[in-house]
């Protein structure tokens, strides 16, 4: 910790960063009249705060946990803060993503009116500060306070443009599901507390639960945190809320806020409940697998860019949970070393997703800013008018598609490695269940690749489909800086996995009681070998170097032996002369084969034009089946119950007296 003066403990620095953020937020509210100050001063400062937090988090991972107790909170329960390896990792995640998003925000909101911006600045900083507190909290009360503050501040951020009804609807759905989830989490803490009114995590950890109660806590935690993370079937808020929010906020919500749910799940299940049972892992694995496939299949069908990215968040949460589910299964079957690998895979993907999804949302924001469009069908050819955005977006797209040597590949690779260790399990059913998850993951990865070819191809390549694209301008300096930071992280995390995996071992040591095996990571920083070098290894740096060398070599050889003469011409297109931009593939067209193959998954409403139609138009609407399966019935049941209860209040005083009378008689009977 030499780089810090005054010998502050990591937790002190983290606490100061949180305070710093809150101060920036308040300053923003006060400086509503001077938007330039907020943009040019506060947001870059906020990024600096994020950087400090990220550094603190990563530095704290290999130290012993540090604690802090604040004289706030409940009378018998002051706010406990604790920074251990797990918190450190997630703070790093928050800080790393926060740097990019804050830098980006410094430019993105330049056209926003002062009062809105001031409020937004406050909400933004309360949002990130509350996320940091969630990760630092060491008692159930502070955790819940920070958790709900996070939900509330992000709700206000989502509804920034609240004069549009669909945005209000999105905000409503979001906060409702978040709140119900929060109550479930709260009940999980209720299960864990020993009835002494002591809600510190130390006390919860010490509680001895019967397997039944432990399972109840697990289920409540899964539902509660799942609602925030967006697992099936409580994912519906995600594709509504993410598009509604301003893009930097979407980046934060998808990139970081969903991860707080992962953090909470790990904290509660692995750390607090900690009497792990493999059956829980099966539940998580099944849910995660379905979530993964569902997310990617619906993402493919979207033509609203931010909605599409939101569905990919659902998918990626599924991938993360596949890792964690495997960790549960292994840990519950007494294979802590394997559990450590699975957990590292899950956590690695958590960080990766934060980085590349943040980057992609920022890219989407730049497109939105430049063209005013979120609909892919109106884009095209943006790579020429906004080359920087296009490049950064490509990095993000390749990362999320799990292509080597970028970061998305590393975590999927680790997850596969963890899944391939299933023969170690004694239970035959489990052994054969895990490959299905791996297969689903493989399928999801390939489909993601397809989806991002669609996105990138339709948005950035080809010819502009509408006039917006012609007048598009590239992102400004701050935006480029923000996206550049995240893109660089995508590359760095892809190239130096060992650096992070070694730190993640501190987390698994605490959570599942083991590090990776003795033979793991023997090859130094260059070789990622999570079990042993003979078992599996991967070296992204060498991989990249070889590809780069081969490509350069080829390029030079071709130029040297032959020539580099080039001529620009109109596209040939098999000689068709009247080519125009509308003949390019549409987003819906691109994913049509998938829609065809996976037809049973979707609830489709198609309008096919007839031959005699004067204004032939093809329209297609794809809906989430869960609305029909789950949400509408629940809403109808609630409505029905409300109507029945409403009948109690039917206006006649005699009837009211009768209620009173009957109640009296009934209770008297009960006494007798």
């Amino acid at each position: 910790m030499q780089f810090l003066p005054m010998r502050l403990l990591p937790i002190d620095i983290a606490g100061l960063a949180v305070l710093f953020w809150l101060a920036l937020g308040l300053l923003g509210l006060l400086a509503s009249a001077r938007p330039a100050f907020i943009n040019r001063m506060l947001f870059p400062l906020s990024a600096a705060g994020s950087l400090v937090l990220a550094a603190t988090g990563i530095a704290a991972m290999d130290d012993a946990a540090t604690v802090m107790i604040l004289p706030l909170g409940l009378p018998d329960l002051p706010f406990h803060l604790r920074l251990d390896a797990l918190s450190g990792f997630f703070l790093f995640l928050l800080g790393a993503a926060g740097v990019g998003v804050s830098l980006y925000s410094a430019g993105y909101f330049r056209d926003t009116a002062g009062p809105t911006l001031g409020l937004l600045c406050l909400e933004y900083h309360v949002f990130i500060a509350s996320m940091a507190v969630v990760m630092l909290a060491d008692d159930a009360y502070l955790f819940m306070v920070a958790w709900e503050t996070m939900a509330l501040s992000s709700y206000f951020l989502v509804t920034t443009e609240h004069d549009q009804p669909q945005i209000r609807h999105a905000g409503f759905l979001y906060l409702l599901i978040a709140h119900v989830g929060a109550v479930a989490i709260l009940l999980a803490f209720g299960v864990l507390q020993g009835g002494h009114g002591d809600y510190s995590f130390a006390a919860l950890r010490a509680a001895h639960l019967t397997p039944g109660w432990a399972s109840a806590a697990f289920v409540l935690a899964l539902v509660g945190f799942g609602a925030k993370a967006g697992i099936l079937p409580v994912h519906v808020w995600l594709p509504e809320a993410h598009p509604a929010a301003p893009s930097p906020v979407s980046a934060l919500m998808s990139g970081v806020m969903l991860k707080t749910a992962i953090y909470g799940f790990v904290r509660v299940v692995f750390d607090l409940v900690h009497q792990l049972q493999w059956q829980w892992g099966v539940v998580v694995l099944i849910v995660a697998t379905l979530t993964t496939l569902f997310g990617v299949l619906f993402a493919l069908m979207q033509h609203d860019l931010k909605r599409l990215l939101a569905y990919h968040s659902v998918e990626n949460i599924g991938i993360i949970l596949i890792g964690l589910g495997l960790a549960l299964i292994y840990a519950g079957s007494n294979h802590p070393v394997l559990a450590a690998l699975a957990m590292i895979a899950g956590l690695y993907h958590t960080l990766n997703h934060a980085v590349f999804k943040g980057l992609l949302f920022l890219g989407a924001g730049s497109i939105l800013h430049a063209t005013g469009e979120r609909d892919l069908g109106e884009m095209g050819g943006l790579a020429r008018s906004m080359p920087y955005t296009a490049f950064f977006f490509l990095v993000g797209a390749l990362s999320i598609s799990a292509l080597p040597p970028l970061n998305g590949f590393v975590s999927e690779w680790l997850t596969f490695q963890a899944a391939l260790l299933s023969p170690a399990l004694a239970n035959g059913i489990l052994r054969s269940l895990i490959p299905f998850a791996a297969a689903a993951l493989a399928l999801a990865g390939a489909l993601t690749g397809m989806c991002f070819v669609k996105v990138y191809g339709v948005a950035f390549l080809g010819a502009p489909r509408s006039a917006h694209g012609l007048h598009a301008h590239d992102a400004g300096f701050w935006e480029k800086l923000g996206m550049g930071w995240l893109a660089a992280l995508c590359v760095a995390l892809g190239l130096a996995p060992v650096w992070l995996v070694e730190r993640l071992e501190y987390v698994t040591e605490r959570m599942v009681g083991a590090r990776l095996g003795a033979q793991a990571l023997k090859g130094g920083w260059l070789w990622l070998a999570p079990v042993a070098a003979e078992r599996a290894s991967y070296s992204p740096v060498i991989f990249l170097l070889v590809i780069a060398a081969v490509v350069t070599l080829t390029f030079l050889a071709v130029r040297r032996i032959y020539h580099g003469r080039l001529r620009l011409a109109d596209p040939w297109d098999c000689g068709f002369p009247l080519l125009d931009a509308r003949m390019q593939d549409t987003p819906a067209g691109f994913s049509q084969p998938i829609r065809h193959i996976f037809a049973p998954v979707y609830e489709m409403e198609r309008h096919l034009p007839a031959a005699t139609d004067p204004d032939p138009y093809f329209s297609l609407e794809i809906r989430d089946r869960f609305w029909r399966w789950l949400y509408r019935p629940v809403a109808a049941a609630a409505e029905f119950s409300a109507r029945q209860v409403g009948r109690l209040q039917q206006g006649r005083i005699a009837v009211y007296l009768l209620y009173s009378f009957v109640t009296l008689l009934f209770v008297l009977l009960f006494v007798r």
Partner: protein, 314 residues
């Protein structure tokens, strides 16, 4: 170690340089089977040479991706051919990328090919990209599952270790192996744009997949792509050979066994090319929407293999 580097360099160079030869051989066999007079075995080299000499013409719509793509294709395929142990199992490059990464390499190539196709802004480009991606999206997991099956047997995802185990270990034929083999072959056909999924010799717009993507390419770019296609075929063939008929491969550190291994490889490729040509002649190309069924079958077979493997393990 030195022997490793020697065999690495040798193998990589060989795979790239000899790749058009395999294409030539397959074309030759096919011509014979179809009762045509065959072109020369070296015809592909001549075609490449001709293309390299031409001036490139590029659509105005395109971005850097379009021009970059041929090099990516070529580089990826070269890397793939370089990490599959066909001659020896001590390739120093192999640990840098295991089977999963190998699939990743193919995926990178595919994604760039599709992006480049969409970059042209033409109807055919998008059509080709869409078809390529959806076939690929189904083939890729099938491929992974095949590899998983072998990994479970060898308890490793490292290609060196897998091949070593399969070739030299006291290995028993397992039922799962047969499933994996058939699945692999089906996936390989799909991935290499061969009949029954695609036909490399047709430009019929209703059915073409791979060719639709490269319609706009010309001259050296097209040459690189064609060459990369050839290398890909070699890489896949080598992979199939290494995984399913690895006998004769040189053990680690045994440089003396290399010539023998080379001979064995040539023989296997010779047979393999002939089989491929026969299959392409005998089979009819599937309707486009039958193709997913074909790949899905491969996927299921691979999955069945894995399950058999796990169930029969103890």
């Amino acid at each position: 170690m030195t022997s490793g580097i020697v065999s690495q360099l040798f193998q990589s160079a060989l795979a790239v340089l000899a790749a058009p030869l395999l294409i030539g051989w397959v074309n030759m066999c096919r011509a014979w089977l179809q009762n045509r007079s065959a072109p020369s075995l070296l015809q592909p080299y001549r075609a490449l040479h001709k293309l390299f000499h031409k001036d490139a013409a590029i659509s105005r719509n395109t971005s850097w991706i379009f021009r970059f793509n041929p090099y990516v294709q070529f580089g990826c395929m070269w890397l793939a051919a370089g990490i599959v142990p066909v001659l020896a199992t001590d390739l120093p490059l192999a640990p840098a990328a295991d089977v999963v990464a190998l699939v990743g390499v193919f995926a990178v190539a595919r994604v760039f090919a599709a992006l480049a196709a969409m970059d042209t802004g033409t109807a055919f480009g998008g059509l080709g990209a869409r078809r390529e991606m959806f076939i690929g999206a189904l083939a890729e997991p099938a491929m992974l599952i095949v590899f998983f099956n072998l990994s479970l047997i060898a308890q490793s995802t490292s290609l060196n270790t897998i091949v070593e185990t399969l070739a030299h270990g006291n290995f028993l034929i397992r039922p799962s192996f047969a499933f994996a083999g058939v699945a692999f072959y089906m996936v390989a056909l799909a991935e290499n744009a061969r009949v029954p999924v695609d036909n490399p010799t047709t430009h019929l717009e209703l059915t073409m997949i791979h060719e639709a993507m490269i319609l706009e390419y010309s001259a050296r770019h097209l040459a690189l792509i064609e060459w990369a296609v050839a290398v890909k075929l070699v890489a896949y063939s080598a992979l199939g050979i290494a995984l399913f008929v690895p006998w004769g491969i040189a053990e680690a550190g045994n440089t003396a066994a290399l010539p023998l291994a080379l001979l064995a490889l040539a023989g296997k490729l010779f047979v393999g090319g002939a089989v491929l040509a026969t299959l392409e002649t005998v089979l009819a190309k599937l309707r486009l929407f039958r193709a997913p069924e074909f790949v899905a079958t491969a996927f299921l077979l691979a999955m069945l293999g894995v399950l058999l493997n796990l169930v029969l393990q103890r």
